[in-house]
Each structure stands twice: as C-alpha cells, then as structure tokens.
Symmetry: C3
Subunit: 427 residues, 3 copies
Amino acid sequence: MEDIGNKIYNLAVELFPIYRSITGDGARETLRIIKRHLPLLKIFKVPSGTRCFDWIVPPEWNIKDAYILDPKGKKIADFKKNFLHILAYSVPIHKKVSLKELNKHLYSLPKQSNAIPYTSSFYEKRWGFCIAHNQKEKLKQGFYSVHIDTTLAPGYLNYGELLIPGKSRKEVMFSTPLCHPYCANNGLSGLAVTTYLAKWIMSIRHRYYTYRIVLVPQTIGSIYYVSQHLKYLKRHVKMGFNVTCVGDDKTYSYMPSRSGNTLADRIARHVLKHIYPEFIAYSFLERGGDERQYCSPGVGLPIVSVMRSKYGTYPEYRTSKDNLSFISPRGLYGGYSAIKYCILCAEKNEILKSTVLCEPHLGKKGLYPTLSIKEKKQKINTIKDVIAYSDGTRDLLDIADILEIKMWDLLEIVEELKRTHIVNSHR
Amino acid sequence: MEDIGNKIYNLAVELFPIYRSITGDGARETLRIIKRHLPLLKIFKVPSGTRCFDWIVPPEWNIKDAYILDPKGKKIADFKKNFLHILAYSVPIHKKVSLKELNKHLYSLPKQSNAIPYTSSFYEKRWGFCIAHNQKEKLKQGFYSVHIDTTLAPGYLNYGELLIPGKSRKEVMFSTPLCHPYCANNGLSGLAVTTYLAKWIMSIRHRYYTYRIVLVPQTIGSIYYVSQHLKYLKRHVKMGFNVTCVGDDKTYSYMPSRSGNTLADRIARHVLKHIYPEFIAYSFLERGGDERQYCSPGVGLPIVSVMRSKYGTYPEYRTSKDNLSFISPRGLYGGYSAIKYCILCAEKNEILKSTVLCEPHLGKKGLYPTLSIKEKKQKINTIKDVIAYSDGTRDLLDIADILEIKMWDLLEIVEELKRTHIVNSHR
Amino acid sequence: MEDIGNKIYNLAVELFPIYRSITGDGARETLRIIKRHLPLLKIFKVPSGTRCFDWIVPPEWNIKDAYILDPKGKKIADFKKNFLHILAYSVPIHKKVSLKELNKHLYSLPKQSNAIPYTSSFYEKRWGFCIAHNQKEKLKQGFYSVHIDTTLAPGYLNYGELLIPGKSRKEVMFSTPLCHPYCANNGLSGLAVTTYLAKWIMSIRHRYYTYRIVLVPQTIGSIYYVSQHLKYLKRHVKMGFNVTCVGDDKTYSYMPSRSGNTLADRIARHVLKHIYPEFIAYSFLERGGDERQYCSPGVGLPIVSVMRSKYGTYPEYRTSKDNLSFISPRGLYGGYSAIKYCILCAEKNEILKSTVLCEPHLGKKGLYPTLSIKEKKQKINTIKDVIAYSDGTRDLLDIADILEIKMWDLLEIVEELKRTHIVNSHR
C-alpha cells in the first residue's frame, strides 16, 4: 500500500523541477512524462488567440532565465534557484532601474516574510519578481540591473485527455490542474495522484462507468475544455472530481458542487465520513479550483473535490513553502486512497429491490443460523437490514447511510443477496 | 380505570400456564380462551406444508413432557417446572448421553447465569434443553438420561381474526403475536391488551374505521396472513399497530414503520409525546416484531408499535425472568391506554376547513366573551387558533401539533365549531 | 436621519389627544390630519349596519364626557383627564349607584395596580369605567353619581386608503390600525410611521410595485376592507405589512404570515437578521393584529409584521402606561427604517441569470484586478459569488442569504453586472 504512496511521491519529485505555466514547454514536457505512465493519454494543442466563451487563449510564454543584479553586481531573485522568483507571464526586459522603480515590480508577503509568493499576470502585460519580504526590506539604494529572458509569442496551450471506456457511456470525470509551478500540494499532488488513479481505473475489470481524465491548465484550460464538450459533458458526466491538494497529511476536506446534492457529493461525504470523520466540509463559497468553471451556472456539472488540506487554508499555499517537503508519500497515498473509495462506491452503487414478499427465509438459503438464540441474533441483522431497505427506491449508498455502515463493507452481503436472487439491482 | 388493568392482568395470569408455540394445542387453547372474551373471533387453521411466499408452514409440534435425569437419578431441566427448559420444536429423544455430549444440547446465558433462556429451532431438527448457566456449570461428569416426549407431525398452524366493521371500509389493523411461551411482557401482554382493546373498540358508537385484529404466531403466522390478504390490506389498511411488550411499567417506546411518516407514526408520536414526553423513539433498524413482515418492501403497511419496554432492551427479555412479576396491572393499563388514545385520535382525525372568511364573530355565536379585557383574552385563543389553521389542508392532528395541545383536548371545541357551522370537516 | 424620527414623533404627539375608537369623530379627525400629509389619501365611510362576512358594522359611537362623582362629590375616573377611563362603546347613563353596584362596572388590573386598562365592549351594550386598581380599592361605601355622556346611533365607520401606482400592478400592501385611543406604541406608532413610509414610497423613482396603504379600525375595519376587495387582493398583493407597535426602542420583533414562507416573511427575516440579529421571531399562534383577518383561511394574504416590542409582550400594553413616554423619536425611526429596508429589498429583488458560460473574464471588463496576488483575491470574491449563484432559479434575496451579506450591500454589484451584461434579471 505505502508502496503506491512512494511511487506517487517519486512522480511528484520527477515533475517538480519542470517550470509549468498555463502554456509553454514545461506543460508539454509534463504531459510527455505522464504519457510514459499512461500511454493512451492524448495530448492536444490549442492555438493562441482561440476564443472560448468569454476568454481568449493567451500567447505562449517561455522562460530561459531571469535574475536581478544588485548595485554590487550580486545575483538576487534568481529564477534558476527558485522558479517562483519570476512573476509568471512576465514580459522580457533588460534594463537598469533605481530601487524605487524596482520596488514597483517586486511582489512579497509582509506577513510571511521569508516565503516567496507565487504570482502571475496572464492577461495584462507586466514584468516583475517575487521575493521574500525580509530580503526585499534589506535592499539598499542604488541601481539594479534587471534581466528577464522570456518570450511571449503566438504558440499553443496544451492539455491531456484520457478516456477509459466502461460498459456504460455514463461518465465519471477527473480533472486536475496542469499549471502551478513549484507548488507541491496545490499543483503537483493532483497530477501525480490522478496519474496513479488512472492506472488503477484501467485495472478495474468490468468497469461500469466510462472515465474521462483531463489534465488542463487551471481556468483557461478548463474553460476551453468545457467550451469544446459542453453538450456531451452535460449529458454523460454523472459525477466528477477536481483533483487538487491531495498531497499533505494534515486533514481531509471536501468542496461540494454548487448544488451540493449530486451523486458525487453524496459519495464524497460518505467516504470521508467513514475514513476521516473529522473531515472539513467547506462551502461552495470557499471554492477556488476548476469547479468554478465546471459548476458555473449554465454548465452545472456534478463535480466536487476530495482533498487533504484545501488551497487557501494553509499558510504555505501559493508560496515557496508548498514544496516537496510539504507533501509526503503517506499524504499522497491518503488522497489517492480516498478518491479510490469514491470510485469503488460509484462502480458498485445500484438501486436494490427485494424480490421476496415479507422477509425471505434466510436459513433455507444458508444465510441464517437455523438455531435462534438471543446472543447470536445480532450477527445477521445487517443482512436483514439491507433487505428491509431494498425497496426499489433506494440505492446502496442510501442504505449504507441509513445503516451507518461503510458501503464497501456491504458489498459482500449484496453479492450474496444477488447470487441467491433475494434482491435484484438496477441503475 | 385501574380496574381494567386488573382485568387485563387476570387474563395474562390465565394464559400464562399454557405452553404456546407457533403451532400446537397451546395456541388453540389460547385462542379458545380469548374467544370467550371476543365471541366473534374467528379461528383459522393452516395445514403443515402450506407455502407462503418464501416460507413453508412447519409440522405441528406438541409436547407432553421433557426432563433430564442426572447421574444420581435426580430430575433436572424439568419442563413441568418451567416451560422454557425445552428447546422449542425439539425432536423427541430418549437416551443416555455423557456430560460432554449433553453439553452440546444445553443452551444457557453465561452473562445472565441464573436465567433460563427461551430458545427455539423451528426449521432445523434439533433437540435440546435450556438451563440457567450456573446450573449448567455445576453438572458433574457421568451419564445423563435425556427424555423428550414431543411429537412433530403434519397438523395445523392456528390463528385468530376479528373484523369489527365501521362506517368506512378503511381499516385500522392490530396484530399481536400468539406464540412466545412463558414470556409475559414479550408475549402475553400483547394478547391480553389486544383482547381488551377489541372489547373497547366494539363499544365505540358510530365507529368510522373498520378494525382488523389478528392474533398470529410471529413471523410464519404474519407471513401467512399477509400472503392471503396482501392486495386487500395494501388497499384498505390506513394505519396499524403491532401490539407487543405492553405490560411493564418502566417506560414507553415507539417503533416506527419503515417509512416513518404514516398516519400511524404521526398518531403514535403525538400520543406518546403527550402522555409520556420521555418516551423512547427507536429506529426501524431496531425492529424485531411482525413489523418486519408488515413493513417489508413490497408489503409496506403503515404499521408501528406503541410499547412499554421494547423487546431486546431489557435483560429479562427472552428469559425466565420475563414472567408475571415483570408485568403489572398498572403497566398493562398504561399500554392499553396509550393505544386507546391512538384509536381515539384515528377516529376523530379529520381535515378541517373554516367556512367563514376572516375571523368569525364568535361573540354572536355565544363562543366569545363580549367584553374584551386584557386578562380574559387568552382563554379563547385556542378556539381562534383551531379556526385559523382550519384551512382545508390540515387535519386535526396537524393542528394539535401546531398548537402543542393534546388532540383529545381539542375535540370539544371542534364539535362546537362544527355544530355552529364555523368549520366543516372531511376525511 | 434622526430628523425623520422627530417628525414621526411629532405627528404622534399631534394625534395623541384625539379620542379614536372604531367609529366616531375621532377617527374622522385623525384621517383629516393624515390627509394633510398625504393629500391623495381617500377617506371612505361605511354606514352602520353594513354586513361584511360574519360581521355587522356597529352604530357610530361618540363621547362628550364621562366621570363619576364620589360620595363626597369629588370627580373620579374623569374621561377628560384620561381617555382610558371610559369603557369604549359605553352606553350613556346618568344615575346614582351604590359602591357594590358601581364595582360591577369598574375594570381594573389587580396585577398592575396603578395602571388604567384599555377596555371595550363594541358588540354588547354595557356601561363602565376603567380605573387603576389601587384607586378602586380605596373607594369608600356610599352612593356614587355616574355620568356617561355618549351617543350610540346610526352613523359611519371611516377608513383611509392610498394607492401609489408603480410599473407593475403587483402590490405591496400596508395596513395600520386606526383605533386604539391613547395607546402610543400599540396604536399611534403605526399611524405615524405608515404616514412617513407613504411619503417616502412616493419619492421612489421608477417604483416597481404598486403600493396599497390602508388605515382601518382594527378587526371590523380590516374585515370590511377585505370583504370589498378580496378577489383583487388575493390576485395582486405579493407581500404586505401590518404596521403596529413600531414606536419603542427596546427590541425588534417579527410576526410571520400564517404560512410563514411568503416573500414578505423572507424579506422581513432577512432585514431583521441584518439590522438586529437578536430580533424575536414570534409564532403565528401569538398573533393579535389584523393579520388575524388578512392571513385567515380563505383570505391568506402574504402579510407579516415587523415590529419593535410586540403587542401583548410588554406590561404597558393596553394600559395608560403605553403613552408618549413609552415611544420615542429613536424608536419610531427604528421601526420606520426596518420597514423601509423591507421595501427596498422588495423593489430590488429579481431573479438573476448569468449570461456567460463558465466564469466571465472580469479583468477584461474592468471588474477584476489583472494581477493575481494572494492577498488581493478575496476582495472580488463577492462579485464572483453573485455570478456563481445567478443560475436563473434564485432571486437576489436567496443569493444574499447564501452569501450572508445584506441584500442592499449587493445592489451596486448587481447594477454593475447588469450594466456589463454579465447577468440579466427578471421577476
């Protein structure tokens, strides 16, 4: 088990030193590495300037180097030392500026003075550097030589898509953000966990659902994706997960869909209630990932997030502290495992209907001790309870919730009841 | 009032020394005694081997005697001293066995070491004795002479049915278990209370509902009964009560129907809330009586239980301690009385509709003090509240719940309002 | 702002020395004074003896004087000193009576021994005086000379009605009791506040709703009014307020409509929750004003009360202590202001629908900082949340409740979103 945790962590380690933004070489390289794990992954490219709903795909941005030379010629804010030093999507620049001028282009967090923030300006042309606030405070008067060796030019936005067919055309969708450079829990954990979930899904025999897995730059990527598939997604996606922040080991949390009552919501709450009863249920008002697009009015997909520490709730979020030491094999395994239980519940959830009027004679079918004695009775209560609620209106998830039993602990009983024709099932 | 309690208790005393199992002479004798109280009771017989849904009526079982002679020839586990000593439905046997062999056939409760358990094996051929665990522990090595003088042969299952017609074909159903030998609260109390409820029901003038009262061996009896009347019951039974555990004086409790929202549920909760606010509301998951059949998927009758101490919740349950000293005239009267209030509520529950637009002029109709003075006002608030909620969508039970007043305390007002044509009513 | 409070208080002071009953000169004079403020107010008269539903308009009652001369010839219970001394609708009488006889006609409050109660006998012919209980206790044996100079003769019941048209024929209705002499919070505050609310409503540009403002004697007046307009009111009144008890400064309270779920209820709760979170929500069982008529079965208008201290809940109620010192400019202003917010919410409440699929690009529209930096993000969350819930099923009131933000604090954002065509709206 923990072995999987290590594998997921190793993938995160491999992807960490690649600078990923919403466009550019880093995204492509990342997708190529994941394709080595998931050979059926398709990689798509969308030209700069493509319109999607209210948005336009921005020019492709690439970076070779960026740094500042202080008045004494010492390199500071060196991109090669920490990717976050560059304001993402910074325009190229090579000039000398006064400290006063420079300060207008420096981004720092006064309240977290030794963390470098992650900052971006995708849709407005700017240049800038992100540095620790205490470093910024120490900068002396004088002239600084600013070097940003970037290109911002027509190119492509890239994303990956993997479809894993099942018996039904009904779909479970997974989406994970491809961007967020150097953010381990907020960015990498989703990519790494989703990759291993996809591998596991492909190993499920007799899959019921078709699985749609998309790796997209946040916001512009998911908006483009929705714009291309809206009608199909609205019709076929029965539940989905935005996989993000699944790497640390501090807690579990849940972001509902807008309506809060979809199958995805019910399953997420059931799983989390049983694996981590203290899990944090956030309000949709606290959303921040691609559910902003998937659950928007007019789109309204049944997509939730099952997370470890949610974006925006831990101080390391969107800073240089959300690094490989913030996540762990154990943390990633926990995120992977929680979503795996959700998939298991989805696959096995059916409406059950007793075929027998009154209680069935369980003894005759070998399901019941033929000797009725007080202390033995409660052992078979669960089996009787499953039958009692198999009234053709409730699905197994409902029944598990009524019985306050993990749904996966009922699967053996349900198999037995189906085998003996005491209940039948439909979707 | 307590007089009724004594009468009910005396009937229980009369029935106690009869060995009742799911078939056999004891059941017939019991029905004959009750028929002396309820001459219109019909007694039915169902041949062994009759199929009903998933079940088959077992052979008829009768017992003459059963005991063990210990190595010194002393009688132990003597059926004639306590009926519970015999494993119900034991096959006949006469042989000498070692203590080791005997022990395989002895049933005892290690945690209640001086109580004899009630144990049965209706559908698997076995022989056995039930004894107090501390007696079992004292048995010495040696050979024991086992004598079980029973017969298990084609015969009949018997049950009783009494229909008390009312104005409407809509029915209130009562069912009570006929079996459970020597269990006073769990078995006898239901028979005795139901008998006296039936007498009272017959005394109601202008009964609205038709009443169906069935005395059946638990499980196989109710399953057979349902199998014979399913369609009619589903159509006509508007509410019902499984009458059991109505004899002790410790508490009141309530077992809901499967849906939990039927008229029977609403009435049971209303009555218990007002007569014993601390009553225990159990979950359907804790069911154990014939509601298992009546409320099963595909049957789904609106049947609840209004009880004193529920089966399975008191240590004396299903042991020799659930005897005549566990129940009492006061306890039985309480159970009888609670269900009587339920019947009263059912009979009187109607949808009310005010015939007057705006408030009626109560003074003109002699219903209102014509002098308006601050301190007198609240006395007639109830009458105004009943009118205010008589909007043609609510029944009197709803209104009583909104007003937080016992429904039976509103009956006089409702009569007055109907007499003065301020409200009219329908079902 | 407090200026309005003083104006409302001054109107109350002006109206206080007029004896208003359900009919008579006082009611007409009151309506004439209010018409000076609201020139479009129409004053109606209804002849004595007119039938309305279950009621008949009583004879008109007028009073010139009333007092008792004690055995020493001293004037007590002098109407000219305090209007409440007369039993409202007392028949005329001039005779000498023993103390024993007199006592049958004296109304007092033993528990509030120095307060004069307000008592009436509109529909039964009586004579009587109301006095402080401690004064009553001190009366000595002897003969008392009783003088009641009243007339009870065919005449009129008067009421006022003001219609302020809006774009829509849908109506918001206000009703306030015209009677209740000398009761400042319970009677006058409603008249004074409603007058100033009407002035303000007339100043609203582009009013959506039509406003119907009625000043009626309680019970008989509102019943007559309903009887004349029932069909129209049921069709057009979308929400309404019975304005009473809006003058003291102790608390805020809310009387629901009978159903409790109308737009008026939702708005009243929203406003009170935000302006005075500790407000008291009463049950409809505690009603006592004209909602008794407006919300009666068969009428069922969506009418609530937003009050300061509710009738019946403060000891001064219906006594001489509910006088001009019980209310205050500040208290009246609070009542006025709370209902003004309700009107504002009603006018601005629309169903919102996002026109954009996925999130709109707010930056492009100048609604979003183009630089994404951690600490700035939450500033625009509200704008995004409004859009996220603008799904064509929710009105702005729903959205404000979900966001837990005052609805009036969202109006600027909504205007901006409508101006930029990000959302559109309908009723």
